[in-house]
């Protein structure tokens, strides 16, 4: 279980997270929604300690991880986590196969002779084959994302943090990724935290949903309850309406 208490993060004078309280249950899919710039990515980057919060606590199985300093403890924390980056963040200098198996060397004790087979299996899991030798620059945007997901899956994390896993994918591929997230939950009990703007996908995969607005949680609730919520912020976001309490303007 991941418990987040009063989490705050500033970048200079910009307050991105202004006191987030949230509980993410084991084995569930929790989706985080909210407008651009409301701190969704910052929040999940704090969970895996890519960003150090200014204040507050993040308890992973009861242990506060916000003050971990040593590289060893950080490595132990990250052993249990996987992170899917928005643009994939594949290593340009390595082949697809090397990308997929990259984490095995650092996070697991897998012998090297098994790497090729694992790369093949993981790529098959995301619907790709025979591309191990290609370079990331030779792949389309959607393929990059799927290879990045294969790289996350290769190390067998217990918790996967997805930063917009279906953005830039065609509807069919989005559906496949959604099914994969649910499959991982059912078969392996993987906990997923998914940032998404795709409401259809959010309602399909979520056990719990969270709405973030101006660095705070507006509503965190089980899916059905969230769907029926009368909260004007949530309602406006779900309906995708430009009228309501969330003010977004096009700056000229």
């Amino acid at each position: 279980m991941i418990q987040i208490k009063n989490l705050q993060k500033n970048f200079g004078r910009k307050h991105v997270l202004t006191g987030v309280d949230l509980t993410i249950k084991d084995g569930e899919v929790t989706t985080i929604i909210g407008g651009s710039g409301t701190g969704k990515s910052t929040l999940i980057k704090c969970i895996i300690r890519l960003i150090e919060p200014n204040d507050g606590q993040i308890l992973v199985d009861g242990k506060d991880i916000t003050h971990i300093k040593s590289a060893l403890e950080l490595a132990q924390l990250r052993r249990n986590f996987g992170y899917l980056f928005q643009e994939g963040a594949l290593f340009d200098s390595l082949s697809v196969g090397e990308n997929v198996t990259f984490g095995l060397k650092y996070l697991t004790d897998t012998p090297k002779n098994k790497y090729a087979a694992i790369a093949k299996d993981m790529l098959a899991l995301v619907g790709l084959k025979d591309i191990e030798k290609l370079r990331p620059s030779e792949l389309s945007g959607g393929m990059k994302k799927r290879v990045a997901l294969a790289r996350v899956l290769a190390t067998g994390p217990k918790v996967i943090l997805y930063d917009e896993p279906t953005s830039g994918l065609d509807p069919i591929m989005s559906e496949i990724i959604d099914e994969l997230i649910l499959d991982l939950k059912k078969k392996l009990g993987v906990t997923s935290v998914v940032i998404t703007h795709d409401m259809k996908s959010a309602f399909e995969i979520s056990d719990a949903m969270v709405m973030l607005h101006e660095g705070k949680v507006k509503l965190a609730a089980p899916r059905e309850e969230f769907k029926k919520s009368k909260n004007p912020y949530v309602k406006q976001f779900i309906e995708g309406s430009s009228q309501g309490p969330i003010k977004m303007t096009i700056t000229k």
Partner: protein, 258 residues
């Protein structure tokens, strides 16, 4: 104006502190974990093998022009081109070899290193390294420092030889110095200490270039434009530092008798 100066000094010492922090982490990682052998070899090849041609060519012509200038000057003053080998050899081994090689490598491999690490930074690949259980210091910085420190002194040696050969060509074929005299001038006056002088300099320059370029790369911000700025800054800072440090190193090394 004082405000500007203050801001500059704060930024300068801030960056110096951060760069020192990076070197400290590199030292810690070096003792803690296995070195990335494959990465180190790859980088050494990129910095070293791929730069042999440009380093030796630069030095060849430097040696040639040194011989030409020295020959003409000597002929004007002493009516004979004396000690050309010594002048070319000394200038190259103690000064121009290490400095020019460091310049060439800073412009070539240093810039490439900053651009690569900077691009990795702005495309979240550095974050990805963290999430996959390694550290950019271990995976990117240490192999590069090692590559620069291994490759630059070796390249400097090549540059020295090539420069002296350039001087030889001009002396023998254009100034009419006999090949025996040119070689003897070098052998008689240039001592192991002079080679050490250049060697120590080149190691320190190499370390400096690697640290500046990695630091600038890891602290890149703001997309493609940021990568461009970081790369330019890395090369300019490296070159200025090489020249500034060259003076102080020469002073220190001479004071201790090397």
């Amino acid at each position: 104006m004082f405000k500007e100066l203050g801001r500059f000094l704060i930024a300068f010492f801030n960056q110096l502190g951060q760069a020192s922090g990076m070197v400290r982490s590199a030292a810690v990682w070096l003792f803690k974990g296995p070195v990335e052998v494959r990465q180190t070899m790859l980088q050494t090849t990129r910095v070293g093998v791929d730069s042999v041609a440009v380093a030796t060519l630069t030095s060849l012509f430097t040696g040639m022009v040194l011989a030409l200038q020295a020959g003409v000057t000597m002929r004007d003053i002493l009516s004979e081109p004396l000690y050309i080998g010594t002048i070319v050899g000394f200038s190259l081994v103690r000064e121009l070899g290490p400095v020019l090689t460091a310049f060439v490598i800073a412009g070539r491999a240093g810039a490439a290193g900053t651009a690569e690490i900077g691009t990795m930074k702005v495309t979240e690949q550095i974050d990805a390294l963290h999430t996959l259980g390694t550290d950019p210091i271990r995976y990117l910085v240490i192999p590069r420092i090692a590559a620069f420190v291994i490759a630059i002194p070796v390249l400097t040696l090549f540059a020295n030889v090539s420069g002296m050969f350039g001087g030889y060509l001009v002396s023998v074929h254009s100034l009419g110095v006999s090949s025996f005299v040119y070689i003897d001038d070098i052998k008689t006056f240039i001592k192991v200490g002079d080679l050490m002088h250049g060697f120590i300099k080149s190691i320190i320059f190499a370390f400096m270039i690697a640290v500046v370029c990695c630091y600038k790369g890891l602290n890149t911000r703001g997309g493609a434009e940021g990568v461009g700025k970081a790369t330019t800054a890395a090369v300019v800072i490296s070159m200025v530092l090489i020249l500034v440090m060259d003076y102080f190193l020469t002073a220190i090394l001479q004071a201790v008798g090397i």
